[in-house]
């Protein structure tokens, strides 16, 4: 009975997702222009409406993609080990529809309502999976951060609505036109804080790695893969559309802020991810990294935006960042689903206790590897495409901008390179330790492949990763709408795929010079060809048959204890970047009769998240301490009460009795 309901729910979600996808594609491919729909008037003071333009449609597409996969994946997953499958199905439905609502909102009120609905539904998903104290705390932190963000957004929306006499986006735009510079920038910064808190921008990210893993895995996929994007949608919508001045470039301060925030988030996110042993937490931290990468592109586009004579370059940057949005949704969704299938089969999240799953769950393993390659920005998958575009944009703008901004772009470029390397290392670790080697626990020992619906969900996203990687030109066409809408000028595809859909070219190079262009498709073909050749080479000439033998462990009989653990794998980086990690370690030695005979060594170590310890912990401690102190001062004496009344009256009389 319950199972049927869960299935039905997910099928409905799937249907909704496909509907949304078709709608979005319709708008993006230009058949249907901008769609408008006025909702029944719920509140006297504001008219509510939906409006799907290019930008909305693109993000709607992102939502729909991952949602479809999650809907395929969900039922079996929930069936496996859910506390309250019905509640979670319901919450999931609300969650995705609210995300779609935010993307399609045509006015501030609809936006805010959907936005908060999104928060609440995801909160429900976070706390409903396992009722542990930890999850409760994670949910609390999440809710508080989200609420703080919303407070900032409220100011932005209400200020504009107040000036524009209406919540409708057009009204907000007209209101924004009349703004003077400082106010405009102040509002943008507020919006950045509001959306950044939801998007997990460092240092507002602390809730993310705690909350995302706590939800059921396909919900985590949606939170990490899509919800962050919805927040980014807000940044795009406000930065380029609503708050942007009608003429002239965007204020340089915006681009600077976004670009630097993006860089910091990218590096910090991946650095912290490297030290995680909880599969899902690791992935969550990578979301911080990728949001950073997306913001790098966005910030660059802001710096280059209108009226600096580099339209095509700005378009390139924006296209890179938008494409990465789509890509990250695809591969992060895939990875979370993969992690989920591991967890649902083993019940273990700590990768130290896994291992050897590649043989037991081959599908999951292959797909996870694919996702890992994609997220590490390795060719020939989609992650590489968007990062290549970002690199091109950065390099060309270095020359274009020059000076401090140029240097910033240069630094961003090198940091991006570092990020790529770190990500590769991180996923070599994650994949290797989780799926390869020998199983390190009975759970891993007894694991078996997940049911086909879950595999199907992953396949969908994997397909997206490969398709975007090999045929980037076609994905690029989807970006025409948003890029033209936000920056004007030529669309993305005109700029980026100048030499045909299979060739990417970093446009906007200096006059008279040939734009750098690559064809991932061709390279992939070459790769495949060479692989075949090599395979043939190793197959020929005939030789003695293949033998199996135990791994070389200096002559001792190999066991899973010889496997290199995740902690050990990340050790060099822990030392190199100890300034960031502030690693703590404790080694307890249990010696036998003589101090030289060691019975047992137990090692415990941890790294800290600087933002958490330096900012939030201190803030929390300070606030609670003050509150305690104030509260301690209140005596329950009635005379005090009366005195307060008397004094208040007297003061009020003294101050206000006379005009």
């Amino acid at each position: 009975m319950v199972r049927v309901a869960v299935w039905l729910g997910h099928l409905l979600i799937l249907a909704g997702a496909s509907a949304g996808a078709t709608l979005a594609l319709g708008v993006l491919t230009g058949d249907a222009g901008t769609l408008r729909l006025t909702l029944p008037r719920l509140f006297p003071f504001a008219e509510m409406s939906l409006c799907v333009d290019g930008l909305s449609a693109f993000f709607l597409l992102v939502v729909a993609l991952v949602t479809a996969a999650a809907a395929l994946y969900g039922p079996s997953y929930l069936g496996a080990h859910a506390k309250a499958p019905l509640v979670q199905t319901f919450a999931l439905a609300v969650f995705v529809s609210c995300m779609a609502g935010v993307c399609c909102a045509g006015d501030g009120l609809t936006f805010l309502l959907a936005w908060e609905g999104m928060t609440l539904a995801s909160y429900l998903l976070v706390v409903s999976d396992t009722r542990s104290e930890e999850n409760t705390r994670a949910g609390l932190l999440y809710l508080v951060m989200a609420h703080a963000g919303t407070a900032a957004l409220l100011v932005v929306f209400l200020t504009l609505a107040e000036r524009g006499h209406g919540f409708d986006f057009d009204a907000l735009r007209t209101a924004a036109r009349s703004l003077e510079g400082p106010t405009r920038s102040a509002l943008f910064m507020l919006a950045l804080v509001g959306f950044g808190a939801k998007a997990g921008v460092v240092p507002l990210h602390v809730w993310l790695p705690k909350a995302h893993p706590a939800a059921p895995s396909h919900a985590s996929a949606l939170m990490s893969g899509v919800m962050l994007k919805v927040a980014l949608y807000g940044i795009f919508r406000f930065g380029f559309d609503i708050l942007s001045p009608t003429v002239g470039p965007l204020p340089a301060s915006w681009g600077w802020t976004v670009l630097s925030l993006g860089t910091v988030s990218a590096v910090m996110g991946v650095l912290l991810a490297l030290q995680q042993h909880d599969l899902k937490r690791l992935l969550a931290f990578h979301s911080v990294e990728n949001v950073g990468i997306i913001l790098i592109g966005a910030g660059l586009a802001m710096l280059l935006s209108r009226g600096r004579g580099a339209e095509s370059l700005a378009t390139l940057a924006l296209a890179a960042s938008l494409l990465h949005t789509l890509n990250h949704a695809a591969f992060k969704g895939l990875l979370f689903l993969g992690a989920g299938s591991v967890i649902s089969r083993t019940g273990v999240r700590n990768m130290e206790e896994l291992g050897g799953l590649a043989r037991r769950m081959p599908w999951t393993a292959w797909l996870f590897l694919l996702g890992a390659v994609a997220i590490s920005a390795l060719p020939p998958l989609n992650g590489f495409v968007s990062e290549w575009l970002t690199f091109q944009a950065l390099l060309l703008s270095v020359a274009e901008l020059g000076g401090a901004s140029g240097l910033l772009a240069g630094v961003a470029a090198s940091m991006l390179a570092l990020t790529g390397g770190l990500a590769a290392a991180c996923f070599a670790k994650a994949f290797g330790v989780t799926f390869l080697g020998r199983p390190r626990s009975v759970h891993a020992e007894q694991a078996s492949e997940s049911p086909s619906p879950m595999i199907a969900g992953m396949l969908l996203l994997a397909g997206a990763c490969v398709a975007i990687g090999l045929l980037p030109g076609y994905a690029m066409r989807l970006l025409d709408g948003p890029t033209q809408q936000l920056l004007g000028g030529l669309g993305a595809s005109a700029v980026v795929t100048a030499h045909g859909p299979l060739v990417l070219s970093g446009a906007g190079a200096k006059a008279g010079l040939e734009a750098t262009s690559i064809s991932v498709t061709a390279v992939a073909a070459l790769l495949a060809l060479l692989a075949l050749v090599a395979w043939a080479l190793r197959g020929w000439p005939r030789r003695a048959p293949r033998r199996l033998a135990p791994t070389w462990t200096c002559g001792m009989s190999p066991s899973s204890r010889f496997d290199y653990t995740a902690t050990a794998f990340a050790k060099p980086l822990r030392l190199i970047f100890s300034a960031v990690y502030r690693p703590r370690r404790a080694i307890a030695k249990e010696t036998g009769p003589s101090p030289y005979v060691i019975r047992r060594l137990s090692y415990t170590g941890e790294v800290v998240d600087l933002a958490e310890t330096m900012l939030y912990m201190r803030l929390k401690r300070w606030v609670t301490a003050t509150a305690q102190a104030i509260r301690a001062h209140s005596t329950g004496r009635i005379h005090g009460y009366i005195a307060f009344v008397l004094v208040t009256l007297v003061i009020a009389l003294l101050l206000f009795a006379r005009a």
């Binding site: 805010l112 908060e116 706390v127 009722r131 949910g139 809710l143 508080v144 407070a151 009635i638 206000f656």
Partner: protein, 490 residues
């Protein structure tokens, strides 16, 4: 006919109260309770209907119901019904635990209805003197209810309550006298109903601003005490935490609002007499103070009901802010917030009462995993808390939205900023407390008896209102609110 309703309504509930003194049987009492409340609700709705149809209506020269009044009237009726339904279940638990003695039940019910009657008179009064008398009446009846358990803490709370609020109210009376004096002077000699709000408002622009200022200061400090505005709020957490839970619900949900009603009446006069800046400025200051002062006590609180008490302080502050920001939007938002907070706070108090009964403690550190042992109550508590904290799709979000927008419209950016910061902090505190109560695993000692669904009806009624107003504004309510706004800000 319609005019007679004005005095029939309080009279009815008073009569019900008196009648109860003669009854001993528990069931009959409960039935009378619910029936009486339902009748009151019906009558209030009838009055509302009349007012909406044909404008304000007066009676006996001292009663009058206009659009402002009916808002509060309906709120009282609604809460009366919800509370009396919930009382059924609560009373069972209390008797089971021996906190209530069966032979004293009729006093309890009688007092509750007397209390409701006085509140009705308060909002129906046109004559400011009658307003004051009824207000003092609420103090007396509810003070007895606060101390009803007769334990040390209850009596202490009752004493603080009656003493402090009586002082406050006497200030209110003095303010009333001054305004009356000014009015009588302006009208030249005493004429019929010189003490009636309606007639005073008529001449308000000609009143002497100097004396009105002093009068309004006395009123806002006086009735403000009763309404729980900081810094004269201190009795409130004591009383609201010690009172029997249904009474707490009424105190927080309805009584505070009656005091605000008094303030609003005088605010209208003061606005007309000395211009908006004066009274709005005062309201702004008290509002901000209340919101800020409540914060630390909410954060570092362990007693569930005290927590809710301080929350009432915060929300009264928000209402005052709305009035203080002024303008159509602010006033509208404040009035809407009166309804929203009344409904939500009553709900939360009732659910909290259930939780407290289950765990037999008010210490939030002892209450864990309510969701596990009482799913419905847990859900309601969570929803209520989220609503109190101002998250959509619950009603309070909408009114807070309006208040904030009004603040920005009034150009009070600093106040709004401070307000938002504090609200976020309070949100953190509240969700921290509630999250830990709702989730986690319950102690073995907690009672796991199945939830009786009939009493829950009362709460569900409130939840329905809470969610409905969060996602939709009925046209009728909107019209009443708009008209009431006009009445207040002219």
């Amino acid at each position: 006919m319609a005019s007679s309703l004005l005095w029939l309504t309080p009279l009815l509930s008073f009569a019900v109260g008196l009648g109860m003194l003669l009854v001993r049987d528990r069931r009959v009492l409960a039935t009378l309770d619910v029936a009486g409340s339902l009748a009151v609700l019906g009558l209030t709705l009838a009055i509302t209907n009349r007012v909406v149809q044909a404008g304000p209506v007066g009676a006996l020269g001292i009663f009058r119901a206009d659009h402002v009044a009916v808002l509060f009237l309906v709120l009282i009726g609604l809460l009366a019904v919800a509370v009396s339904i919930a009382t059924v279940g609560w009373m069972r638990q209390e008797l089971a635990r021996g906190h209530m003695r069966a032979e004293r039940l009729h006093y309890y019910y009688a007092l509750v209805h007397g209390f409701i009657a006085t509140m009705l008179v308060t909002v129906l009064a046109d004559n400011l003197g009658v307003l004051w008398i009824a207000m003092e009446g609420t103090t007396i009846t509810s003070a007895l209810l606060v101390g009803f358990h007769g334990d040390k803490h209850g009596l202490e709370a009752a004493w603080k309550y009656i003493i402090v609020t009586t002082i406050g109210i006497s200030f209110g009376l003095f303010g009333t006298v001054l305004v009356y004096g000014a009015a009588a002077h302006a009208q030249g000699g005493v004429l019929a109903g010189a003490m009636n709000w309606s007639s005073i408002v008529a001449v308000a622009p000609h009143l002497d601003p100097g004396i009105i200022r002093i009068g309004f200061i006395f009123v806002i400090v006086g009735y403000g005490t009763k309404a729980g505005l900081a810094p004269v709020h201190m009795w409130l957490p004591d009383a609201h935490s010690q009172a029997p839970t249904p009474v707490s619900a009424l105190l927080s949900g309805a009584l505070i609002k009656c005091a605000l009603f008094g303030i609003i009446r005088f605010h209208t006069i003061a606005r007309a007499a000395c211009g908006p800046e004066f009274s709005q400025g005062l309201l702004l200051i008290f509002g901000l103070l209340s919101v800020v002062v409540a914060t630390p006590f909410i954060l570092a609180q362990h007693d569930l009901k005290r927590l809710l008490g301080y929350h009432s302080v915060e929300h009264v502050g928000i209402i005052a802010l709305g009035l203080g920001f002024g303008g159509r939007l602010g006033t509208y938002g404040a009035l809407l917030h009166v309804i929203n907070h009344g409904v939500t706070k009553a709900l939360v108090f009732l659910v909290a009462g259930d939780a407290i009964a289950r765990y037999d403690t008010r210490d939030m550190r002892m209450i864990r995993g309510l969701m596990g042992i009482a799913p419905l109550a847990g859900t309601l508590l969570l929803m209520g808390a989220l609503s109190l904290a101002g998250t959509p799709p619950f009603s309070i979000f909408i009114s807070e939205l309006m208040v904030i927008q009004a603040g920005l419209a009034a150009g009070r950016t600093v106040v709004v900023a401070a307000f938002l910061v504090v609200v976020v902090i309070i949100f953190a505190g509240l969700i921290h407390h509630v999250g830990q109560m709702v989730f986690g695993t319950a102690a073995a000692s907690a009672s796991r008896e199945r939830e009786a669904h009939l009493p829950m009806l009362g709460m569900l009624l409130l939840v329905a209102a809470m969610v409905l107003l969060g996602v939709y504004m009925p046209a009728g309510l909107d019209r009443v609110l708009a008209r009431a706004t006009e009445i207040i800000i002219g």
